[in-house]
């Protein structure tokens, strides 16, 4: 008989189980600290919530995530997955983190949720310094949707899955029922309460995953390539859902993606390359980089491509346009003013 070689890191699941036990011990301490931290969290984020109304000119100045000089390396790898990275995420913004596969963007997501800890540097979530003792508190503030629709669906039915996070946090049942329904309504999946996961499309499963996150009422939602395994229809469903939520929920969205069309709609983009922050800016600024992005293994949105081509062919355009509508309007204006 022949068997495939089993790599050394094949049983992280087992290692993980061990760590769960250790965490269980820490849990006792945590219960004692819980009250205190909770009050702290509540106060800070309440303050963060009010900020926009106070200063209307700069509505997104309050950082909800503050990352300072972090480095990270996986045990089995030689190079650093992240090196000396600093960034801030502001309350209520939609931040896209882009980069080719292996640029460190998913590692960054894991660090923000305490699924890994940085070797150097610090991470603060709503003013709480993230470490092994505060991780369960910060996880309530940061919800995460992963790439694979199947491998994050824990419950046997839609409602069980949404309830899973609530059960973990000891939410009383009466409250749980309300929150499950409310969050499923927000993602338009309330008609599928008893549906089993294998009867759902990828897009629907991801929306259920989002509902599961919303039920915990986080401040921040991280989408870790949450649309990359979906078909175009599923992708649109999920993005539309997120857009709606962002409008109504005062959520901060961190979307980790290599879909540049998706990133173009964000408030701000961070480009990662080889574990470092390569560039940061508004979509307008980032997409002026043009060929540089392609060299980084990324792509440019279609409207930028066509703006560039038109310019090459001698049609005067003041910039690379990010929206097709704007570009067409611009062409029309220059045409009719002739």
């Amino acid at each position: 008989m022949r068997f495939a070689k089993i790599p050394d890191d094949f049983f992280p699941w087992l290692k993980y189980d061990g760590s769960l036990r250790q965490i269980g011990i820490i849990q006792l301490k945590l219960v004692l600290m819980r009250e205190k931290i909770f009050i702290h969290t509540g106060q800070f984020c309440a303050a963060a919530n009010e900020a926009p109304s106070g200063r209307e000119d700069k509505p997104m100045k309050e950082p909800v995530v503050k990352i300072e000089n972090i480095s990270f390396k996986y045990d089995e790898q030689e190079g650093y997955a992240l090196k000396d990275l600093s960034l801030q995420v502001y309350d209520g913004e939609w931040l896209a983190i882009v980069g080719h596969n292996g640029s460190g963007k998913s590692t960054l997501a894991k660090l923000m949720n305490g699924l890994q800890y940085p070797l150097e540097g610090t991470i603060e979530i709503c003013g709480i310094r993230l470490n092994k003792e505060t991780v369960w508190e910060t996880r309530k503030l940061v919800g995460m949707v992963f790439q694979s629709p199947d491998n994050q669906f824990v419950g046997t039915t839609v409602q069980d899955d949404v309830a899973f996070g609530l059960e973990n946090n000891g939410v009383p049942r009466g409250e749980m029922v309300k929150r499950v329904i409310a969050s499923l309504e927000k993602v338009h999946m309330e008609k599928f309460l008893d549906q089993e996961p294998h009867h759902l499309s990828g897009g629907q499963k991801q929306r259920v995953a989002i509902a599961g996150v919303l039920a915990l009422q986080p401040k921040i939602i991280i989408l870790d390539e949450a649309t990359s395994m979906l078909d175009p229809r599923g992708r649109e469903e999920v993005l539309e859902t997120i857009r709606e939520l962002k409008g109504t929920n005062q959520l901060t969205v961190i979307s980790i993606t290599h879909d540049l069309e998706e990133a173009a709609k964000a408030d701000r983009i961070i480009v990662m390359n080889r574990g470092r922050l390569y560039k940061e800016g508004t979509p307008e600024e980032i997409f002026q980089m043009d060929e540089e992005l392609v060299e980084l293994g990324l792509d440019i949105p279609f409207s930028v491509k066509i703006s560039k081509k038109l310019r090459e062919k001698g049609i005067p355009l003041d910039k690379f346009y990010l929206s097709e509508e704007e570009l067409v309007a611009q062409l029309w204006t220059s045409h009719s003013s002739k």
């Binding site: 993980y16 849990q27 996880r139 995460m144 994050q152 046997t156 069980d160 309830a163 059960e167 000891g170």
Partner: protein, 265 residues
């Protein structure tokens, strides 16, 4: 074959049995297994048979479907009957042909034992036909709850069971996909000598294991991200409700049991 087989399958419907609390159903099944052995004459077996058919009727699952589904185990029942027919030699001799003898006791014993077998299978099928696997898991978790005191990992087992149940269809789809992919690479799963067919399993099982491990790992991370840290301090979303119906069913069962004890010889 799978289409007809009913043991372990759930048929959605809205019946009294469907509405019962899985705990009461599990307790009833357990007790039923015990009292089947109380019956020892035609009257008591008759009562059990009647009870079982009343239950089947209450399940609203068509009787034809249930009985049809028991066909695959029919040979077991027949085999039990024939075995006892041959081996029990009391009472009057009914039939003789060479060394082949059939006694009255043989017929009696054969009928009773195979009937017992039939009743047990029918009742357990009724449980799974009217109760979703996840309800059974929930019921077991509660019923086994007291074992937590002796450090038996009841919560973990129940979680494991529910996750396995959730992933069975996913793994079936995956198996189908990998089989097709390997078929396209020239593997023949359905014909050829036994040896090559066993060898053909390896290109199927290895990818299946690898993807399952990957799933397990990703699932563990996703669970942790959603705040899972063991059974302590957890609340439960699914609630089991013991209703009047369950009490009535229990009482009915007690009546049957008492009658059995009175009428047995």
């Amino acid at each position: 074959m799978m289409g007809k087989f009913i043991i372990g399958r759930y048929v959605p419907a809205d019946s009294l049995l469907h509405r019962m609390d899985p705990r009461s159903k599990l307790i009833l099944i357990f007790l039923f297994v015990c009292i089947v052995f109380v019956a020892n004459n035609p009257v008591t077996y008759g009562i059990l048979l009647l009870y079982t058919f009343v239950m089947a009727f209450l399940s609203k699952v068509p009787l034809r479907f249930i009985l049809g589904g028991l066909k695959p185990v029919l040979w077991l029942i027949v085999f039990t009957f024939i075995l006892h027919l041959f081996l029990t030699k009391d009472g009057a001799l009914l039939f003789e042909w060479g060394w082949f003898e059939v006694y009255e006791g043989g017929v009696r014993q054969g009928t009773f034992i195979s009937l017992r077998f039939f009743l047990l299978i029918l009742m357990t099928s009724l449980l799974t036909l009217t109760t979703t696997p996840i309800e059974i898991t929930d019921g077991l978790e509660v019923l086994l709850g007291p074992l937590k005191k002796i450090n038996f990992p009841v919560h973990e087992l129940a979680l494991m069971m529910s996750i396995s149940l959730r992933f069975i269809p996913t793994l079936m789809q995956e198996t189908d996909k990998i089989m097709k992919a390997q078929t396209a690479r020239g593997v023949d799963f359905s014909s050829g000598p036994l040896k090559t067919r066993i060898q053909a399993i390896i290109p199927l099982l290895v990818p299946l294991f690898i993807s399952s491990f990957k799933r397990a790992e990703e699932l563990a991370v996703a669970m942790e991200a959603r705040g899972y840290r063991g059974g302590e301090g957890r609340t439960k979303y699914r609630q089991l409700k013991w209703t009047g119906l369950d009490t009535v069913m229990m009482l009915a069962f007690v009546v049957v049991t008492v009658t059995l004890f009175i009428l047995r010889t």
